[in-house]
């Protein structure tokens, strides 16, 4: 830790010489108290979700005793504020030439020392309440677990930007050095690029207009998740809505009664009501998309992708091209109709595990772009990929038709037989017919699923197509493979079929029921690629 002078001396070639190293432990700006309070609250409300059922049951009796709950809430509030204040007081950070140290924690003290060269991913986050004072959070992810991340909680935005460029230039120098050592067969990075890396400007690759975000909100119906969460309260909600409407002079039972209105009228009422509810739900989703992705820009600096977005809290995620593990092109059924694509650049999955498609996740999402924009972005990341030609010429190899047979015969058929025999024995003809219709529908979906499956490969990449009604395309460089798995059961062996699983740092991909020969080929080639090309996966 005390090699500061020598370290800063070697740092002299650094482009960011203006950014001086700070030898002493630094205190955050007091605005950080706000951040700590907010995070404590967030944490608490995250846990409060588990308490909601208990509260919902007893809230009437709780409400009857205001002299108990009022002071206790006040005390809790005071404690939280105190906690946030002390958190701020004990937080110290120190920057040396090539690493960062953070001390934090009230009861359990934490000391974190992170060399810049180990940083995987730099994120800048600017919550709403920081925007007035121009502060920001700088989050540094490492390849390790999500717990070991460093977060500089309240620093000036410019300082955060400077720090980011410095850390990233260091990381880049590091990777170039190792790549040169490795003299990889595929080495695309030329050392010359790093020299003028400080000069190159950020180029804007993509922006999202408000209309695009509206489309994204409509197509990504994340609202169903919310609906599922609200399920226990449906009764209460419907009751209170009914009461409210009654007080407005609208009576449901009268509206929908067939005695006072004709069938057509009631049908129209029901239709317009569902439309209204759908409209409300979709608008929620649209609002969610706008909050997450407002002012979306995707730009490129050297070989780094930078995504900025957010209405209230501004997020900035950047990812080096070498960190990119896989490109995913997703199209839901609505996206297919509207000809829009959600593009994802996926990286190491060890951080941000439980954040799926939200704006805060560390993968780079480009929401609802048009096909040609999507193609441009993919070609920018992987110039020699042939996903587009594969898609156009349908160059994907289909999986075995036995996939349909297996799923219908071994999964759906038994269920259907049991269900229909039970219902028929009980003389429930109507239900049996409904079950049969459902069965036929599911069989159709299985066929559709089979039709979507496809795999293709070329010199450097493996491509995968899957989906149900929508279509998703996955494309990853073969050398990024971490592990391969070959799976085969006795029935498949008889038919010379096999399932292959590719394990990547961003997750695993499975291709079911391809021919044994192709499976062996894929694995042998994959292993050869990984082992012969000494390129690092990071």
């Amino acid at each position: 830790m005390d090699n500061l002078p020598s370290a800063s001396a070697t740092d002299s070639r650094n482009p960011q010489e203006t950014l001086q190293t700070i030898d002493d432990w630094q205190v955050l700006s007091p605005i950080a108290i706000l951040y700590f309070t907010a995070s404590v609250f967030k944490h608490m409300f995250g846990n409060l979700i588990y308490l909601i059922p208990a509260l919902a049951v007893s809230y009437k009796s709780v409400l009857e005793h205001p002299f108990i709950w009022l002071p206790s809430i006040l005390v809790a509030f005071a404690l939280l504020t105190l906690f946030a204040f002390v958190s701020f007081k004990v937080y110290r950070y120190r920057l040396t030439a090539d690493n960062i140290e953070i001390r934090s924690g009230i009861f359990s003290k934490k000391y974190l020392n992170l060399p810049f060269s180990r940083v995987q991913n730099v994120k800048i986050e600017q919550p709403l309440y920081y925007r007035l004072t121009g502060h920001a959070c700088l989050q540094l992810d490492t390849a390790g677990s999500a717990k070991n991340e460093a977060k500089l909680v309240a620093i000036k935005l410019e300082f955060a930007q400077q720090l980011k460029t410095r850390i990233q230039s260091q990381v880049q120098n590091n990777t170039i050095e190792t790549n040169q050592e490795n003299d990889c067969a595929n080495g695309k990075e030329q050392p010359g690029q790093s020299a003028d890396s400080a000069v190159t400007k950020e180029t804007l690759l993509n922006t999202r207009k408000l209309s695009d975000l509206v489309i994204h909100g409509i197509t990504s119906n994340r609202i169903w998740i919310l609906l599922g969460g609200l399920a226990p309260f449906y009764d209460n909600i419907f009751d209170s809505v009914g009461e409210w409407l009654n007080s407005l002079g609208i009576d449901f039972t009268e509206l929908f009664s067939l005695q006072t209105h004709s069938l057509l009228e009631v049908g129209l009422f029901a239709l317009s009501l569902t439309m209204l509810v759908m409209l409300v739900l979709v608008s929620f989703s649209v609002v969610g998309a706008i909050v997450g992705f407002y002012g979306y820009t995707l730009s490129k600096l050297d070989d780094k992708y930078i995504r900025r977005s957010g209405l209230f809290t501004k997020h900035e995620v950047s990812m080096g091209l070498s960190r990119l593990q896989m490109i995913v092109q997703k199209q839901d059924w609505l996206d297919v109709l509207l000809k829009r694509i959600n593009l994802q650049f996926e990286q190491n999955n060890s951080f941000g595990k439980n954040q799926s498609l939200s704006a805060t996740s560390s993968k780079i999402i480009v929401p609802s772009i048009k096909p040609h924009e999507c193609q441009a972005l993919i070609d920018d990341a992987y110039p020699d990929n042939s996903l587009n030609t594969l898609v156009c010429n349908d160059g994907f190899e289909p999986i075995s038709k036995r996939f349909i047979l297996r799923n219908i015969l071994l999964v759906l058929m038994p269920l259907w037989l049991i269900a229909t025999s039970i219902t028929l024995l009980n003389d429930r003809l109507m239900i049996a017919a409904l079950v049969s219709i459902l069965f036929v529908g599911l069989c159709g979906l299985v066929v559709l699923r089979w039709k979507r499956w496809g795999i293709a490969r070329d010199q450097n990449f493996i491509y995968l197509r899957k989906g149900l009604i929508g279509v998703d395309y996955y494309c990853f460089p073969t050398y990024k493979l971490q592990q391969t798995q070959f799976k085969q059961n006795l029935l498949m062996k008889k038919r010379q079929l096999a399932t292959v699983k590719f394990v990547l740092a961003s997750g695993s991909l499975k291709v079911p029921m391809i021919t044994e020969k192709l499976a062996y080929k894929l694995i042998d080639e994959g292993l050869y690629k990984v082992e012969s090309c000494q390129q690092s996966w990071m």
Partner: protein, 180 residues
């Protein structure tokens, strides 16, 4: 523009080393019998527990439970034996293979699986030994890649010496040293 020692000759697929022709090494001879013993012992323990519950004079059990207890004991015994037999057969077909640049582990009776782990993608290694494994001199080799915890490559039932040799081989492997 080319790096000095760059070469990229075309590689016919037929000449690639195939995982179809792996030189499979079986696990320690003690491993399968030991597992059988443990499974049998556990089954016996469950049955004994049920039996003591049935015959003990101290606590009055509900009538329903008392009547169905023999059935449960029989079921546990039969299932336990079946499971023991199956897992013994499964343990016998487990094998691993070490090539110069990758590790393979084959397993499964009805569902055959071959997991292949290139050594260059290994992040760290763990040698795991429980109390019973320590007693009989066995070890489990765990290999972690960036593929996540779900995809930890592991070879159970290795003789300690073999496991340590394997670990040493991996640690001193040129690929691991380079990317360490």
């Amino acid at each position: 523009m080319l790096a000095p020692n760059f070469s990229n000759p075309t590689m016919p697929i037929e000449q690639l080393p195939s995982i179809l022709t792996l030189d499979k090494q079986s696990l320690s001879e003690q491993y399968a019998p030991l597992n059988r013993l443990i499974n049998l012992g556990f089954t016996l323990l469950v049955c004994m527990f049920g039996m003591t519950l049935y015959f003990q004079p101290f606590i009055d059990l509900p009538k329903g439970l008392l009547n169905s207890l023999p059935f449960f004991i029989w079921a546990a015994a039969i299932l336990g034996f079946l499971f023991t037999w199956l897992s013994y057969a499964r343990d016998l077909v487990r094998s691993y293979a070490l090539r110069e640049l990758d590790l393979h582990y084959t397993s499964g009776l009805f569902f055959r699986t071959v997991v292949s782990q290139p050594i260059t993608r290994i992040q760290h290694i763990e040698l795991k030994r429980g109390p019973i494994e320590r007693k009989v001199g066995l070890a489990t080799l765990q290999v972690f890649s960036a593929g996540g915890e779900m995809h930890t490559f592991q070879i159970p039932g290795l003789p300690v010496d073999t496991a340590q040799q394997l670990r040493q081989f991996i640690l001193q492997h040129k690929d691991v040293i380079k990317h360490g």
